[in-house]
Symmetry: C2
Subunit: 489 residues, 2 copies
Amino acid sequence: MDAAEFRRRGKEMVDLIADYLENIEQRPVYPDVEPGYLRSLIPEEAPEEPETYEDVVKDIERVIMPGVTHWHSPYFYAYFPTANSFPAMLADMLSGAIGCIGFSWAASPACTELETVMMDWLGKMLKLPEDFIAGTHGQGGGVIQGTASEATLVALLAARSRAVRMILASDPQRPETDITSKLVAYSSDQAHCSVERAGMIAGVRMKKIPTEQSDKYAVQGETLRRMIQEDKAAGLIPFYVRTEHIHPLLQYTLYVSVLLVLHICIFVSGNAEKIWMHIDAAYAGSSFICPEFRPLLNGIEFADSFNFNPHKWLLVNFDCSTMWVRKRSDLIGAFKMDPLYLKHDHQESGRYFDITFSCYSQSIRFRSLKMWFVFRMYGLKGLQDYIRKHVELAKEFESLVRADQRFEISADVVLGLVCFRLKGSNEVNETLLKRINNGRKIHLVPCQLSGQFVLRFAVCARTTESRHIREAWRLITQLAEEVMQELPN
Amino acid sequence: MDAAEFRRRGKEMVDLIADYLENIEQRPVYPDVEPGYLRSLIPEEAPEEPETYEDVVKDIERVIMPGVTHWHSPYFYAYFPTANSFPAMLADMLSGAIGCIGFSWAASPACTELETVMMDWLGKMLKLPEDFIAGTHGQGGGVIQGTASEATLVALLAARSRAVRMILASDPQRPETDITSKLVAYSSDQAHCSVERAGMIAGVRMKKIPTEQSDKYAVQGETLRRMIQEDKAAGLIPFYVRTEHIHPLLQYTLYVSVLLVLHICIFVSGNAEKIWMHIDAAYAGSSFICPEFRPLLNGIEFADSFNFNPHKWLLVNFDCSTMWVRKRSDLIGAFKMDPLYLKHDHQESGRYFDITFSCYSQSIRFRSLKMWFVFRMYGLKGLQDYIRKHVELAKEFESLVRADQRFEISADVVLGLVCFRLKGSNEVNETLLKRINNGRKIHLVPCQLSGQFVLRFAVCARTTESRHIREAWRLITQLAEEVMQELPN
C-alpha cells in the first residue's frame, strides 16, 4: 500500500470508525461467543501472497466484531471507564505516523519535552504541590507510564533502591541481599492484585494491612503503626507504603483512601524512617481537576509519588498512566544505565525528564500528543464538565436504586460508580447478574464487599446519557422481577 | 468534537500524514534544537476554554516538527529500524476506536484470541518448533509484549519462579529469600543494558560472561560451563541464561549468538539443572522468515522462551514485541492472581493465552490487529522481499566502504547494519560523526568495538532506496575529506 492508497483507505477507515461509534449502542454490548470462536474463522497460516484491503476490511465485521466487548457503548457499565475521544484518536494517528521511539532526548526531543510539559500542565490542573512540577528548575516532575500497575512497580523499585542506598550509607559493609531480604512494604488488604504482583516481581515482602467493615475498610494509622513497630522489632526494614484513592474496581475504597492518607501522612511525617509513600488514584485522579473533588487528594503533600490514569476518565485514549515524583533522581537512581549508544551531547541538561531512566520499557511511543490535543480541544472547563456529568449520572442511578425497596446501595456513591444489590442472598444476586449479562443489552461485573456479592454499575462511556441509565435500570428491574418470581416461596 | 467533525478532521489528518511521509526526506533528519526548546513555545498551563482544531493542528509544524528526529526518513541510519507501514497505521486507528482493554478473555474475546492466533501465524512463518505454537491443544504459545526489555524481564521472572518451585519441591522448609539470594543468571558481556536492569528489578545476581575479540565476542560454552561450576561450588544456584541473536544496537553480536546458542544448547541439554534459556533476537528475528536466514535460529529447540520485535523490522508499528514460551504455565506461574472481578465463565478453557497472566502491564491495547493487517496485506512473500531489500542495501553500502581505502569495515555485515570507521584514531572518527550529525542531512550513532569508536550505518526506513544509500555515502566521504584535511600532518 502506497501513500496514495493510504489517502483513500485512511479516509474510509475514518468513516468506518465514525460509523462504529455513532451506532455502537445498536450492538450487543457483550459478545455471544465461546472460547476459541475466532480460530475457526480465519486460515491457520498467514497468506503467501498479499491480499487486498477489501478482503481485510470485510473481515472486521465477520471475524472481529462478533468477539468484541464494546467498552464505548453507552450500555457498558463494567469494570471502569476507559477513555475514547476524537481528539485523542487524531493525536494517536499522528503519533503513529511520526513513529519515533522516545528512549532518550536525542531520539526525538519533541517527544521527551512535550511529555515533561504536558505532565506539568496536568499537575497544575490537579493543583499538585509545587515539588511535583518540573518547570525549568524543579527537582520533581512527571512521566507517562503504560498502566497503574507499572507505576506501582516503578515506585516500589525506586523506594527499594532509595532504602538500600540509605542503609548502605550508614553501614557500607552490609550485603545488599541481606538488606532486600528484610525490606517490608505495606498495602491495604483492599488493594488491587497488581500490588501483590509488584512485590513478587521486586522480590520484597508485601504485607497486607487488615481493614474492618466498621471503619469502612479504611486502613487505620494505628494498625499500620503497630505493624511497623513489630516488624522493626523483628529486625525487618519497613520502606514503602502504597495507598490508593480509589480502587479501580471497587468504589468502596474511596473513603478508605481519604482517611488512610491523612492517618498515614501524620504517621509518616512524624517518623524518621523515610518510608516511601506512593498514592495510586487510578480512576479517581481525573476528578481532582474539579475543586469540589480535590479535597480527596489532601495528604499528597507527604507523598513521594502519585499516579492516576487519564486513560480511564480524562478522555485520553489508552495507554496514558501519569506518574509524578517529588525527586526525579529517585527514579533515575532505580534504573540508570549508561551505554555509549544512548549518549548524546545534552545528556545531563536537567531541562527535561529523560524517559529511559524513568520507566521500565525504555522505548515509548509519542504519547503526550494525546494529552496535548485533548487538553486544548476540551479545555479545563470541558474536562470538568465531563467528570461532573458522569458523577451526576451515577447519582441518578443511585436514586433509582434507592427508590426501589427491593434493592439496597452497598457503598456510598461519591464519583461515577454505584455498588448495589438485591436485598437477599448472594445466590439471587449472582443469578440476577448472570441474567443481565446473558441479555447482552447492558454489561456489569460484580465485586465482593464483606462477603456479599455486589453488583457494580460504573458510568463508563463518553456518550452515556440519562436515557441510557433509565433504560439500564428498566432492564435490571425487569430481570430482578423474573429472578424473584422464580424463588421458592 | 463530535463524530461529524471527526469525519472531516480525520480525513485531513490522513492527508497530513500522507504528506508528511511522502515529503519526509526534505526535512533535516535530526533536529536543530537545544534542550528546553519546546517549553517556551507553548503556554505554561492548559487553556481554561476549548481551542479549535485549527489552533492545534497549526502548532504541529510550529512546536512539534522542529524537535522531531525523523525515524522514517530514508536518511535515518541511527539506532535500528522501527516499523512504519500504512496497513499497521490503519489497524491502529481501528484499535483506538474499539478501545477495549484486553486484561482477560471476557474483557474482549476478539482481542485475546486474535493475539493467540497471530502469534501462531508468526511462529509458523519463523518455523518455530511445534512446542511454541498454541494451536488448539498446545502447551506453549505467544503473547505480545511492549518491548524486548519487558520480554527479558518476564522471562527472568518466569525462570525465577520455576527455579524456586523446583527447589521447594525437594526442600520445602527452605526459606524463599534464601533461595532467591543465591540465584544466578548469566548473560553475555555484550548484552543490552536492559538485561542488567532486569536483574536489578528481579533482585537476582546477573553475571556477565566475558567474551573475547578473538572469538568474535562469542560466549564460549566452556567459559559458561566453568562459571556455572564455580558458582555451584560456592553454593549458588544457576537458573537462567539469556542469549541474543543480535544486539539491537550492535550488529557484531550476530555471530556471537550463533555460536553462543549452539554451545549453550549442547551444554544445557546435557545437564540436569533445567537452566532457563531465553533467546532475544529483537532486531534479527524478523529476518528468520527468510529461509536463507533461518539457520541463525538453530538451537531454538533447546530454548524455553524466544522473543523478537516485529515493531523493528517487520512493518508492524511500535509497540509489538513478540514472545513465545514452550510452556504457558511457566508464565502463568510467575504472575497469576485471581481476584473476583476478573473471574468469568470461561476462566480455564485453555483455548487461548490469557493476557493478564502473561505480561506485566495487565491492561493492553488491541495490538494484534496490526499484525493481522500487515501479514495479510504484505503476505509472507512481501515481507520476505522487504527484509531482503534492506539486506541488499546494507551490502551496497558495505561495498562502497570497502572500495574506499581510507575506511574499514569493523564487523562482518550479515543483515541490515554496517559497522565501519575511518582507518585512524578514535578522535578522528568522533569528529567525523559529529560533522555528519551536525549536517542534519543523515543521522548515525556510534558504538564501541574493542575500544574502537565505530560508526553504525543501519538501513532503517521503509522507503530507503539505493539512491539514498549513495547520497549518504557521498556525504560521509565529503565530510571525511574535510576532517582528514584538518588533521595535523
